[in-house]
Amino acid sequence: MSIELQNIHYSYGKVKALNGVSLSIGEGATGLLGPNGAGKSTLIKIMLGFLTPAEGQGKVLGYDLRTEQKFIRRLVGYMPEDECFIPGLDAVTFTALMGELSGLPRQEAMKRAHEVLFYVGLGESRYRLVDTYSSGMKQRLKLAQALVHDPRLLFLDEPTSSLDPTGRQEILELIGEVASTGDIRVLLSSHILADIELVCDRVVIINRGEIAATGRIEDLKMVNYQLYELRVKGELNGFRQELEQAGCRVEETEDRLVKVYTPPDFDRRRIFLSAARNGVQVRQFVCSQTSLEDLFARVVGVD
């Protein structure tokens, strides 16, 4: 077990941030999923020893989080949520400094800094001042400094926020690669479900300071055959009426996705047939799964 927490409570003044969180996380990559302000960051900060829980115990990598923080921090890499850096330093110096602070010998730290910067894709710009980095590059730099001392456990707090699709994809691939080495556990916090689905095999859903669900992602997804999502070209009205007469419910969302809820035992061929009859092209036809998003919505209670 890399992380074991029992009944952790924490509040900022009157605002309760964590309300009795118990958790155990093992090997591999785990996603920490929840809306903004659910307590994800607070949980990570407690595990790093930045905050002292009002109640409860816990162990990270076998060390007690109240008394043995120093040992935890030696073995943990942390990528904070905020944009943070030390102005005036170039990326290599910055990363090497962070490595040295973790206990790497100076020369090793320099060597290792180059290596991780190449790894995160900042090789070309590693001599540039970090002040001049774009937000995407700063994100990579944050990952580099979290990896520089080759930690056993990686805390990533919202690693993909403010990234464009390409950047997001690349960062997630890097994280996935680190996780797949097998001996580095990853805890990735995000509110973006797709990120977590891509990297993690387990997920902890947290809402309003409490654990809402936890388990393997595959187990949490269930297939629901009653809903089809279509994209069509053509006049929708006739097609729609025909389906509604057949007992279906048809919804069109704002981004032109047509959702067809079918009664049980409904033959899906009938959708195609009525489309063909009404001169409507079915350009996309997917039977919707109750994906993580629905689960998330159900747990968190989205309208």
């Binding site: 921090r73 030390i86 330093l89 602070l101 973790s102 090793e108």
Partner: protein, 290 residues
């Protein structure tokens, strides 16, 4: 046999150091950052003017015969004795340069870390609050030392070299210790002063204004009280005044004001103590970000 380095993440094969000077990298970085500013380098060079002129003074004092034609009455003013070193180490210009250099290279020490939220990067490492503070303090100590301890020692050495004998050293055997301890005292005081100012805000300009304002305010208060009460005890209000009193004690020179030196020492020590307590508190608060 060909070998291909696999793409992807590689572990670091090595052992993390358990102990060592954890704070040293922070200090090194701080010094390096200070020297990155062009204006800092200029001012830094400028602040060695007194040291050079004092060195020239020592040379002339040894060669008074040769310079008699241009330095009349120099015999009185150019006496190299403990007072000579005290004068150097408590000169207004030196204090002013320390403030100026620290405004440029020291104001941002903690303030910038607040501003760019870098504190959490430090404390995610196996680093205690004390290590962090020591690291930042090292920067101030380095520059204050470079302006006080180092030139004073060099001047002492020059004196011995120019006079060609150890008589001076034998006359004042304790002078070396005085220089070292008084410089150390200056370092500790300015470290507390600068770090305290740097930690009250994340705005560097505000910190600079504060560093100068408090220093001069203390001196102004002293001036006003002195004019009114004619009491030497008004010196206790002034930062440079107190420093000078302490210097006189260390160098066995008659103090400028007739006030027991330990009172000045006490005032400054209490200030340092309070600032350390404040810093410790402030940094604990910082770890709780939002």
């Amino acid at each position: 046999m060909a070998e291909v380095r696999e793409k992807g993440y590689h572990h670091w094969e090595g052992q993390l150091q358990e102990k060592g000077l954890v704070f040293w990298p922070i200090t090194r970085t701080g010094i390096r950052l200070a020297f990155q500013r062009k204006r800092f380098k200029f001012l830094f060079a400028l602040s060695f003017i007194p040291a050079i002129s004092f060195a020239v003074g020592i040379y002339i004092s040894e060669r008074l015969e040769d310079f008699k034609f241009m330095a009349q009455g120099a015999e009185r003013t150019l006496q190299v004795n403990p007072g000579f070193f005290k004068t150097y180490l408590s000169m207004d210009f030196i204090f002013f340069m320390i403030l100026l250099l620290m405004a440029l290279g020291g104001a941002g020490l903690i303030a910038d870390d607040f501003r760019h939220k870098a504190i959490q990067l430090y404390f995610a490492r196996p680093l205690s609050r004390l290590d962090y503070l020591l690291g930042k303090a090292g920067v101030v100590v380095f520059f204050v030392g470079l302006l006080t301890l180092v030139p004073a020692l060099v001047l002492l050495l020059l004196k011995l070299l120019f006079s060609g004998s150890f008589r001076f050293f034998l006359d004042y055997p304790w002078l070396l210790l005085s220089i070292i301890f008084y410089s150390a005292f200056l370092m500790v005081f300015f470290t507390c002063y600068v770090l305290l100012a740097s930690s009250v805000s994340k705005n560097r300009n505000y910190v600079i204004a504060l560093i100068f304002a408090v220093y001069y305010l203390s001196e102004i208060a002293r001036g006003i009280f002195y004019v009114i009460f004619r009491s030497p005890y008004s010196t206790l209000l002034s930062i440079p005044g107190n420093l000078r009193q302490v210097a006189s004690a260390f160098f066995q020179v008659k103090p400028a004001q007739d006030v027991p030196w330990y009172l000045s020492f006490l005032v400054l020590s209490v200030f340092c103590l309070l600032s350390v307590l404040f810093l410790n508190r402030k940094l604990r608060g910082v770890e709780v970000i939002r």
